[in-house]
Symmetry: C2
Subunit: 437 residues, 2 copies
């Protein structure tokens, strides 16, 4: 079928997951001698999505993994021979990133202007990573940032990520990773379990009940196969009858019931009362059905035990992309920046630190260049860490785990001023300042 | 690095791109004997995204390709042995889809309730495809539906897809495919060029200009490497000077200038005037910079030659997922459907036809079950086609091309009543009716 890849095609590496212009710029730079100029590119967000108060860094691990596989083999070069000249193809054949990368570790917060990633190398070495780096960060940060708000809204109740079906099949795997990083307990996505070791969970679909002659038969069969600790979906026909059938099938030791439609607050109260009256006092109530952070927050007073979140998670709850850009900020030690009307940026290589009160509350993101390093107070924290040196992953990079990132975010959110955790629209939780050297 | 796949991992097939509950349902159904019940699942949208007037079918080719690779090998089974029992693992090891699939061909329009895909097979055979089918259709239809509106708004001017950096790196490739299907001229995404044969295009980034000692040097070099027909990005510093530098570097035969920021309408008029006054009367003007269908429409009166569209395309312009569901509608010939408060659906296997006036204008989407087939008028068209029979792709499936889909959409949109092509929010362009048998 034209328009489809060959079923026997080998695993494509990430090197073609990029914009054509990166390659033609490399070709032109190799031709005019600028390809070897030492450059610094910075990946950052000019602003947060409308009304959001913080962003969550995610994607670093995925980018570094992709970097180690970023190679132009025969398969890639076959296409590129029609895009660039022979000398460029020869250069691409030998391409290995040999520069340095610094960045905020995964799970760290970011704010407008935070230098989330800094790539240092020759122009050709570094420009070629632009699209891939942006794709990964724009997606993963968007999902993690939305997920973190849902975790806050859930106030300690576990969240199940179940949005795979609402987004591109590979984006789904990355979304599950970002959600776990942000504090979700589990994912329904099996590939995310396989690739990233994230705990997987699942209940059953309405199809399971409809497949059987009646609801009791479906429930009995599920309990027989999966044990009494399973979750029975009780809203296919009549929820009250469904709960009665569920407890009859599994006994009072039933693990959980799931409700996926209707007025969830009211239904939850009724379900808890009914379960308790049947003696199923330990049976949990799982809610799902178009939940977002606002719906989760509105259910805080109800006897919910956990939430399944799908669409709103994988679409970033209204902000499906983080708006990160990848800008050339320095050439051979000289700061550079676009200067026309809109979309200005600050030239020069930068670092950043976050200032905190002695109480631990964050007060300011300070983004500074060489020559304007501010004094580091006892409660302040320098944010970027070295990730790549001379093309090789650092110990900080190879030692990083998803669980570290999860813990880092948890700690960072504790330090956010209380109004920064509000779900309502507002300004960034802390201001970003740019001291002049 | 934990949280990252091994760099030496083999190409994972699509079989784990699914929700855990599909597999546990298969396990329970194998145990209780319902796995072999003959089932019909239907993939459809209950409604269109808020205010949209039609949807565009996309993803069929990608799903059918994935189906041919949907296998549980040692890599998948290693994980699944911790999720399901041994008998289920053995069943999965031998899994091949052996049922039938019918569906709207790619590029066809859909409306609320249109049976976009119908999967017929045993419960276990068919339920296992739910998540993958939904991921592909929910993503690809969302992008194609947004893209089609942009193509209408551009009124014949070519559109370049350049949104890769704003979405997950693999979603980007699928988005480029959907955009081309919907009538975009080219994509910046090289992998989309490689996998799907889509024409690729590109200009240069602001980094290109900033890399050089000055703008004239950058332009001269780009023209030397890529020819005078290249597109020069003129808004890094001062657009008026940029255009003068561009024509000086390339001569009056310069291919195009690109403007990526500022008041695009005003800047376009000034640029056209300046280019003409310099004798560069054939030099085209390419606009980019956060364009969506509304911005494109508002530029209709300006002397724009083409548009580059990024963020709004890959995020579905406000509707990043198509809201498709995959519902069990028939078991052993018996119609089934969920009956509780919300999210109801119609049971029974269905087909559909679109009625047209003798003038060719579409008037109605008729979705019907067995026993209520309406008479087919001379201007009506039956919509689903056979895609898979006994697990094998049909000639309709293997013969389908992206260019066919593109042409199919073009034709289908010509038949939409004029108010259905309006960009403003409204009702579906034609009503869906469900005659009772």
């Amino acid at each position: 079928m034209t328009g489809s890849p060959s079923p026997t095609a080998p695993n494509p590496g990430p090197a073609l997951l990029t914009d054509r212009y990166e390659l033609t710029m490399v070709a032109a730079a190799l031709a005019d001698g600028t390809a070897d100029r030492q450059c610094v590119f910075e990946l950052f967000a000019r602003r947060l999505p409308d009304g959001r108060r913080y962003g969550v860094v995610a994607g670093t691990g995925r980018l570094l993994d992709a970097l180690t596989r970023f190679r132009f083999g025969p398969d890639e070069l076959e296409l590129l021979s029609r895009v660039v000249d022979e000398d460029t193809c020869a250069w691409l054949r030998d391409y290995r990133f040999t520069g340095d990368i610094d960045g905020y570790p995964e799970g760290e917060l970011y704010f407008p202007g935070s230098p989330v990633l800094t790539v240092t190398g020759t122009f050709a070495d570094a420009v070629i990573l632009e699209t891939l780096a942006l794709s990964i960060y724009n997606h993963d940060c968007a999902i993690a940032s939305a997920a973190a708000r849902m975790v806050t809204a859930a106030a300690g109740r576990p969240l199940i990520e179940m949005g795979s079906r609402r987004t591109h099949e590979e984006a789904a795997v990355a979304a599950a990773r970002s959600a776990y990083l942000a504090g979700f307990a589990t994912t329904s996505n099996l590939a995310a379990g396989r690739r990233f070791g994230i705990p997987t969970a699942g209940t059953a679909a309405h199809a399971w009940v409809l497949l059987h002659d009646d609801e009791p038969a479906a429930f009995r069969s599920q309990v027989a196969a999966l044990g009494t600790d399973t979750t029975l979906l009780v809203d296919t026909y009549d929820i009250r009858k469904g709960i009665a059938n569920a407890v009859e099938a599994a006994g009072t030791g039933l693990g959980a019931v799931r409700i996926d439609s209707g007025d969830l607050g009211e239904l939850t109260r009724q379900a808890r009362e009914q379960l308790d009256s049947l003696g199923a006092t330990t049976t949990r109530i799982v809610l799902s059905g178009d939940l977002d952070e606002y719906a989760i927050a509105s259910l805080r007073a109800e006897p919910v035990d956990s939430y399944g979140v799908g669409t709103s998670l994988v679409t970033g709850s209204g902000a499906p992309t983080a708006g990160m850009v990848y800008k050339l900020v320095e050439v051979d030690g000289r700061p550079v920046s676009k200067r026309s009307s809109a979309k200005e940026s600050r030239g020069g290589r930068k670092s950043a630190l976050r200032r905190h009160k002695p109480t631990g509350t964050a007060v300011e993101e300070v983004v500074f260049g060489h020559g304007s390093e501010p004094a580091l107070g006892p409660d302040d924290r320098v944010l970027p860490v070295p990730l790549v040196r001379g093309g090789e992953l650092t110990a900080e990079a190879t030692g990083a785990t998803l669980d570290d990132a999860r813990e880092r975010l948890r700690t960072a959110l504790v330090a956010v001023p209380w109004e920064g955790l509000k779900l309502s629209r507002g300004e960034p939780a802390i201001p970003t300042t740019f001291p002049q050297g």
